[in-house]
């Protein structure tokens, strides 16, 4: 058994920032991550980090844009914390040596991004995430923080009181991918989940193969609710063949979208008469698909993004990476032809419910980054707002886990007297409800009487038994088959456009996947670097996450942000200024709601019609 004060699971932007902060607060920190830190998905971020750095801009404008972008589903205390702390945190990265793009006078450059009233996106070429990830990993090396890389975290060691608000998390169970050894990691003060997005629930995604929602699923099964999972961002410009992202920076620099008839449709078809290509992402993604559906798509599938007119110098200076991506992955030279693009799954606005200190309702369990929902992005995330979230809330989670007092949170978590109960929506199939193999051991038994070591040992035992069962089973279904089926169902039915019938269909298929999973087995007999085993466990997590996304999409019968419903073409503020929460009780999901907090420090954000 390994033992540390704070265990950070995941070493992307959020995890690294949390680890550095916990270390600075005096804790003995360790990071446990299934990939080596520099391989984390944060490295793929291209466009930049929003922070009100310049004169003429201020945090209140940033907060306002973010609330509007969120379609009034962001919680003001979280949004304002983001906007207030982003400048110092961004400059802090610069102090750590991050190679930001520069102005002539040596200051960091900023550029326009969709939905922003001021060009406040700070960037390092079109490789901002790469530099952010490496810069923070360098600081982890500098501080000698212990990293267990290529260790896959399977489960949390949590007590099992009936009410999740009474539960405590004492550590994690992980297996060493290289050797197959399963071990407990005891956390004396706290566990911070920073496991990233769940993009692999969809088959056309900009997300890495590692984005399998492991943290979501583990926290969910331990009793922390998942919040606003129906809000999935589909990025308007991903390459059709692979899903590789073409940064919003291209439109920020003046790139233009055309349909097959050569029309600049954002204006000519009236999707966004003021902002055009720079309307927020949900608006542009719907516009593109409408063009394709109405027969004005190229090859019935995509539209064109043109940046040729920006000129080679500007492109080489600010978007060089985009040229390489278009050439390597689509065989297109962006200097001489327009690039093909279509919407692709990109980001999960929802996630593990946390307060502004990163804490979940389970004592000692924290989450930060894309796996968490504070919530700053509400119904729709503005481009360039995820990276500041990683550093602002990663830091807060790390500090709080290490014992720093950050004050009473304004955001509440877990089931309590401020929530509204269960919906009346009729579900097409009984969701959830799965056998032991599929749950993979929820919270460890023991309750209040058990000591932390005992709980950890029992959780390790359960994990070992589970792996033995998967490995000993001689035949059955392979995870790849289930995963492909799940991904297809989500892309077919829970995509940019959603109908009640479609989402119900998706839930039925997810349910089938759950049943098939009972018969899953691992073909590779080796304990050495068994990716077959790892992906089998990940697939189980994807089923839980996909189900929560589809359930959320079914019950929210309105149109808000990225969540579009055919039968409900209006935002219903009377009824729906509230977060959807899904918690896993006795092996089944149940749904409740918590009101959105629109009261900020100096003002209340009144919902307005969102037009761009």
């Amino acid at each position: 058994m390994y033992e540390h004060d704070v265990i950070v699971v995941g070493a992307g932007g959020a995890g690294l920032r949390a680890a550095i902060a916990a270390h600075e607060a005096g804790a003995d920190v360790a990071m446990v991550t299934k990939l080596h830190p520099v391989r984390s998905h944060t490295g793929a971020a291209e466009g930049g980090i929003n922070a009100a750095l310049q004169e003429g801009d201020d945090w209140e404008l940033h907060a306002y844009d973010t609330m509007k972008g969120s379609d009034y589903l962001g919680d003001a205390p979280a949004v304002e914390t983001l906007a207030q702390d982003a400048p110092e945190e961004t400059i802090n990265l610069e102090h750590w040596g991050m190679p930001f793009s520069r102005e002539e006078d040596g200051r960091v450059s900023q550029r326009p991004f969709g939905g922003l009233s001021y060009p406040r996106t700070t960037y390092a070429g079109a490789e901002t995430g790469h530099h952010l990830l490496h810069t923070m990993y360098e600081q982890v090396v500098k501080r000698g923080i212990q990293v267990y890389d290529e260790w896959y975290v399977m489960n949390l060691a949590t007590t099992d009181e009936a009410d999740p608000n009474d539960r405590e998390c004492h550590g994690v169970v992980a297996y060493d991918v290289q050797s197959g050894t399963i071990e407990g990691f005891k956390a004396n003060q706290g566990v911070v989940l920073a496991t990233g997005g769940p993009g692999q629930a969809f088959d056309h995604t900009t997300n890495a193969v590692s984005c399998t929602g492991d943290g979501h699923a583990m926290a969910y099964r331990a009793g922390a609710p998942l919040e606003d999972m129906e809000f999935i961002q589909f990025h308007p410009t991903s390459l059709p063949s692979t899903g590789v992202l073409i940064s919003e920076g291209v439109r920020g620099e003046g790139g233009i979208l055309y349909n097959s008839e050569g029309e600049r449709f954002m204006f000519e078809h009236g999707y966004a008469n003021n902002s055009g290509e720079l309307a927020s992402r949900d608006v542009v993604a719907r516009a593109e698909l409408t063009e394709v559906d109405e027969g004005r798509g190229v090859e019935d599938e995509y539209v064109h993004l043109d940046m040729r007119h920006l000129g080679e110098d500007r492109i080489m200076d600010r978007l060089e990476n985009i040229l390489h991506l278009a050439e390597d992955f689509e065989g297109v030279d962006g200097l001489v032809e327009p690039m093909p693009v279509k919407p692709g799954q990109h980001y999960a606005m929802g996630g593990i419910e946390v307060d502004e200190n990163g804490q979940t309702c389970v004592d000692g369990l924290y989450a930060a980054g894309e796996c968490a929902c504070v919530s700053v992005h509400g119904g729709n995330r503005l481009g360039g707002n995820a990276l500041p979230e990683l550093i602002v809330f990663g830091k807060r989670a790390g500090r709080h886990a290490a014992g720093d007092d950050l004050g009473e949170p304004k955001i509440r978590t877990g089931y309590g007297d401020d929530v509204e109960d269960e919906t009346e929506t009729e579900l097409p199939v009984a969701p959830g409800e799965a056998g032991l193999d599929a749950t993979g051991g929820v919270a460890a038994d023991g309750g209040v009487t058990a000591d932390p070591e005992g709980i950890l040992e029992r959780t390790v035992e359960t994990a070992r038994e589970r792996v033995d069962r998967l490995m000993d089973k001689e035949d059955g279904v392979q995870h790849a088959e289930i995963r492909a089926k799940l991904q297809k169902a989500m892309t077919d039915y829970v995509n940019v456009f959603r109908t009640e019938e479609g989402v119900k269909k998706a839930l039925e298929i997810i349910r089938e996947c759950r049943q098939e999973y009972q018969d899953v087995y691992v073909d590779d007999p080796s304990r050495t670097f068994n990716t077959d085993l790892q992906q089998t466990i990940e697939t189980r997590n994807l089923i839980d996450v996909a189900e929560s996304i589809a359930l959320g999409a079914l019950v929210r019968d309105e149109f808000r942000g990225a969540h579009w419903r055919k039968e409900h073409q209006e935002r219903k503020d009377e009824e729906w200024l509230k977060h959807t929460l899904i918690s896993w009780d006795d092996g089944e999901p149940s749904i409740f709601y918590r009101p959105v907090i629109l009261e900020g420090q100096n003002k209340t954000y009144e919902p307005k019609e969102r037009s761009y």
Binding site: L35, H36, V38, R39, S40, H41, G43, A44, P87, E88, I91, N92, H95, W96, G97, P99, S101, R102, E104, D105, G106, R107, G125, E127, G129, H130, H134, T135, E138, Q139, V141, K142, Q178, A208, V209, S210, S241, T242, V244, L245, H324, L325, E327, D328, F329, G331, Q478, H479, A480, E481, V522, D523, D524, P525, S526, R527, T528, F529, N530, T531
Partner: protein, 290 residues
């Protein structure tokens, strides 16, 4: 599951699992004018065909894989298919034990550097249609093989860590928490290429010197040091400290300018040039002190 289930035929591999002494990679021009058209032509030819890949297999724990071998897979070609796509297909449809690292699929995580047709390349960045068939896919040479295409990267990481790869501004003036340090666009431009390294290990694997001298810092680590040494934001004292690390016995002077690292780097970093520049810097500083 696909109906095209093709039992992989096996055959003996001549190399040992450590792949020591594999031939050094042939320089191959990948980029250049007309690439886009050429590419489209080759793709059109392959439409509807299968691609023949020969993949290196080894597992220390599994009886019939302890002796390294190559397995053959015939994978249906799809437009834009990369080497990584082909091995993913083979794994998901034919043999789930086929093992390799991969994650981003877009040339930034650096985890899928393989030895493809005798050259170190990123699987996800290499179009199948650009290669001669059968496509031979092997683990990176000069590194210990853990299983199939997965090599032990610890030595590579150790060398990266040995150059103190983190910003050290202790001897520069304090700046305000809300005020950045200034850096000229020219200086940023100077370090730009070096800052692109994704730690894939291709350069180290292609380097004959590194193969013969386990302590040689190697091109990636030296390039990492270059990034800091050339960054004007760090002070003079730390610059000298960095140069002393680099001019040690197993540092920059080992490089014999064979350019193999520069040829294979998927991020087009001019590694050899950077190493040469550091040699010149080291000479300049020494002249000043001796």
């Amino acid at each position: 599951m696909s109906t095209q289930q093709a039992e992989p035929e096996s055959q003996e591999a001549p190399e040992d699992p450590e792949m020591k002494g594999a031939e050094s990679p042939a320089a191959e021009e990948q980029k250049g004018g007309g690439m886009v058209e050429e590419h489209a032509e080759k793709e059109a030819e392959l439409e509807g065909e299968t691609v023949h890949i020969k993949v290196f297999r080894y597992d220390p724990e599994v009886a019939d894989k302890q002796e390294p071998r190559f397995d053959d897979f015939h994978v249906p070609f799809t437009k834009g298919m990369t080497v990584l796509d082909s091995v993913m297909y083979a794994r998901d449809e034919y043999d789930s034990s086929l093992t390799f690292r991969h994650s981003c699929r877009q040339a930034v995580c650096g985890s899928d550097a393989f030895f493809v047709n005798g050259k170190q390349r990123l699987g996800c960045k290499t179009q199948i249609s650009d290669l001669e068939q059968p496509v031979r896919i092997e683990p990176l040479p000069h590194q210990e093989v853990v299983k199939d295409l997965v090599v032990d990267m610890d030595h590579f990481y150790d060398q990266m860590h040995a150059v103190e790869p983190y910003f050290q501004d202790e001897d520069t003036p304090e700046t305000d928490a809300l005020e950045e340090q200034r850096q000229s666009p020219e200086n940023r431009e100077k370090i730009k290429m070096s800052s692109r390294c994704i730690w894939c290990g291709a350069c180290m694997s292609s380097c004959n010197i590194a193969a013969g001298d386990n302590e040689y810092l190697g091109p990636a680590a030296i390039n990492k040091a270059y990034k800091f040494a050339m960054d004007d934001r760090e002070g003079e004292e730390i610059k000298e400290h960095r140069l002393r690390i680099l001019e040690q016995e197993h540092g920059v002077w080992r490089c014999q300018t064979q350019f193999s690292c520069t040829e294979v780097c998927p991020k087009d970093i001019p590694l050899t040039e950077h190493i040469q520049e550091l040699k010149r810097e080291a000479v300049k500083k020494n002249l000043k002190f001796w």
